[in-house]
Amino acid sequence: MTDTSVEAAAEAAKPTIFFDGVSSRRRQVALTLGDALVIAEEGGAPVSWAYDDIRRADSPAGVLRLASTSAPPLDGSRSATSRWPRR
C-alpha cells in the first residue's frame, strides 16, 4: 500500500529512482555531485559511484538512466540503475 503513495509523489515531483541491482525495490533517492556521484536514500547508507564507471543505459524519451560498471556484479557489468528527468 505504501507503494501507491510513493508512485503518486513520483508523478508530481519526478524524483530520482534508484535500483541497487540486488532487489527490485524502487528507492527514492537524492543525488549529490561530489568527488563521486553520491546516491542517498532517506534512512539508508549512501552509495557512491565513481564518475569513470558511470554509463548511459537505455531508457524511454524524457528519462535519463545511468548504470555503474562497478556496482555489485550480479549480472556482469550493469546492475544498478538510477534515473532522473532530462532537462
Binding site: 535500483f19 543505459a57 524519451a61 550480479l74
Partner: protein, 380 residues
C-alpha cells in the same frame, strides 16, 4: 443466521485489490522505421553480418520503450554476443550439414526415405535452438535492476516438442493447442524473474475452443487464396491473446483483451508491400536487361556465359535489395506493430508481488541464438 458480515471491532477493513496496471509503449514509430531501413542498407553492404547489431538495436528499442508500472525494461544483450554465438553454431553446424549432404546422397540411392532420420535430427536441433535462444533473450532482459533467467534443459524441451509434433502430425493438426500449452508450460515454469518463478495458466482446451473452427475452415483458405491472410491473422490474434492471458510470474498475472481482428490490417499491408516490391523488382530486371541489350551486350552468342555476367550481377543485387526491403516491411508490421497492438490491450494484475524481488541466476551464452540463426528458425 450468524453475523459473519460484521467485522470485529477494531480490525481494519480489507483493502480493495489494486487496479490492474497498464503496459505503456513510448516508442516513436518513425524512429523504428529509420532504424530498420538504415539497418537493411548496412546489411546489404556487410553481406548480412550487420543483422546481429540490427536485431540488438530492435530489441533495445522495443524493450526500453515498454514500461510496466512506470519503469521501462532494458535489453542488455549486444550484437557481438550474437555474432560469436552464430560463429560457434556455424563451426558445429557446417560439418553436420556436410555430413548430412554426403550421407543423404549416398543413402538416397538405395532407399527413398533413408535421410528422414537426419531431417528429424535437424528438427530436434531447431527446437533446442528455440529454447536456448529464448534463454539468451530472457537473461538479457532487466526490469528494475533485476534480471529474468531460465533453467530447464534445451534437449528435454526438444524431446517434448518432437513428441507433441508427432501427435500433431498424426491428428492432422488437431492436437496443436495442447502442444502449444504443454511447451509453453515447460518454458514458463523454467522462467524466473529474480526469485519469482513463472508459470503458464493457459490450457489446450481453452485454445482449442478459440480456434477449432479455423482449423475446420482451413482447407477453404487453401482454395480461395484471399481468405488465407484473414484466417492467419485471426489465428495469430487468438493465439497471442490466449498466450498472454496465461502468463504468470510469481503472484503477478497478465490479461489481454486483444480483439480477434487486431492483425487483419497488418497482414494485408505486408501483402500489399510484397506485391508492390515484386512489381518494382520485375520492372528493374526488365530495365537492366533492356539497358544491357541497348549497350550491345546481348546474352547470346559464342561466349554467352561471360556476356551474361553483368546481367546476373545486377539481378543478384536487385534480388538482395528486394529481400532486404521485405525485411524492413516485416520488421515494421510484424514485429513493431504487433508488439504495440499486443501491449495496447494488455493489463498486469498484482504487480505489487514484484515490488521487492531478489536478483538471482546466471547469464546464458548466445550459442542457442546462433543455432537458431544457422538453422533459420526465428524466435521473437
Amino acid at each position: 443466521m450468524n453475523d459473519m458480515q460484521w467485522a470485529p471491532i477494531g480490525s481494519e477493513p480489507v483493502p480493495p485489490p489494486l487496479p490492474p496496471t497498464r503496459v505503456d509503449f513510448a516508442g516513436d514509430r518513425s524512429v523504428f522505421r529509420k532504424m530498420v531501413t538504415k539497418g537493411a542498407m548496412l546489411e546489404l553492404v556487410t553481406f548480412g553480418f550487420y543483422r546481429f547489431w540490427l536485431v540488438t538495436d530492435i530489441r533495445r528499442h522495443l524493450w526500453s520503450n515498454t514500461s510496466i508500472d512506470g519503469d521501462a525494461a532494458e535489453y542488455t544483450g549486444r550484437g557481438k554476443e550474437l555474432l560469436i554465438g552464430f560463429l560457434f553454431a556455424l563451426a558445429i553446424l557446417v560439418p553436420i550439414y556436410l555430413a548430412y549432404f554426403l550421407i543423404g546422397i549416398e543413402f538416397e540411392r538405395w532407399q527413398g526415405f533413408a535421410s528422414t532420420p537426419l531431417f528429424i535430427s535437424f528438427y530436434a536441433f531447431g527446437q533446442f535452438a528455440i529454447f536456448r535462444a529464448r534463454r539468451y533473450r530472457l537473461t538479457r532482459t532487466v526490469w528494475r535492476g533485476v534480471r529474468f533467467w531460465m533453467d530447464g534443459s534445451g534437449w528435454a524441451y526438444s524431446f517434448r516438442a518432437m513428441a507433441w509434433g508427432l501427435l500433431v502430425f498424426l491428428t492432422l493438426g488437431l492436437a496443436l493447442p495442447w502442444r502449444a500449452a504443454s511447451l509453453e508450460r515447460y518454458k514458463m515454469q523454467h522462467t524466473h524473474y529474480g526469485d519469482l518463478r513463472g508459470d503458464f495458466a493457459g490450457d489446450g482446451w481453452e485454445f482449442f475452443k478459440r480456434g477449432w473452427w479455423l482449423w475446420l475452415l482451413s482447407p477453404i483458405a487453401l482454395l480461395i487464396f484471399p481468405l488465407a491472410p484473414f484466417f492467419y491473422a485471426e489465428f495469430k490474434a487468438r493465439e497471442w491473446r490466449w498466450w498472454l492471458n496465461g502468463i504468470r510470474i510469481g503472484g503477478v498475472s497478465v490479461s489481454s483483451e486483444l480483439p480477434h481482428n487486431a492483425f487483419y490490417g497488418l497482414y494485408w499491408k505486408v501483402i500489399g508491400w510484397w506485391i508492390l516490391l515484386s512489381v518494382l523488382f520485375g520492372l528493374y530486371i526488365a530495365g537492366v536487361a533492356g539497358l544491357l541489350a541497348a549497350a550491345g551486350v546481348p546474352a547470346t552468342g559464342p561466349d554467352a556465359i561471360v556476356r551474361s555476367i553483368p546481367l546476373l550481377v545486377m539481378m543478384v543485387i536487385g534480388y538482395l535489395a528486394l529481400a532486404l526491403a521485405l525485411n524492413v516491411v516485416m520488421r515494421m508490421y510484424l514485429q513493431h506493430d504487433i508488439w504495440v497492438k499486443a501491449l495496447e490491450t494488455l493489463q498486469v494484475h498484482d504487480i505489487g508481488a514484484a515490488a521487492d524481488v531478489q536478483g538471482r541466476g546466471d547469464l546464458a551464452s548466445a550459442l542457442g541464438e546462433g543455432f537458431a540463426d544457422g538453422l533459420d528458425v526465428a524466435g521473437f
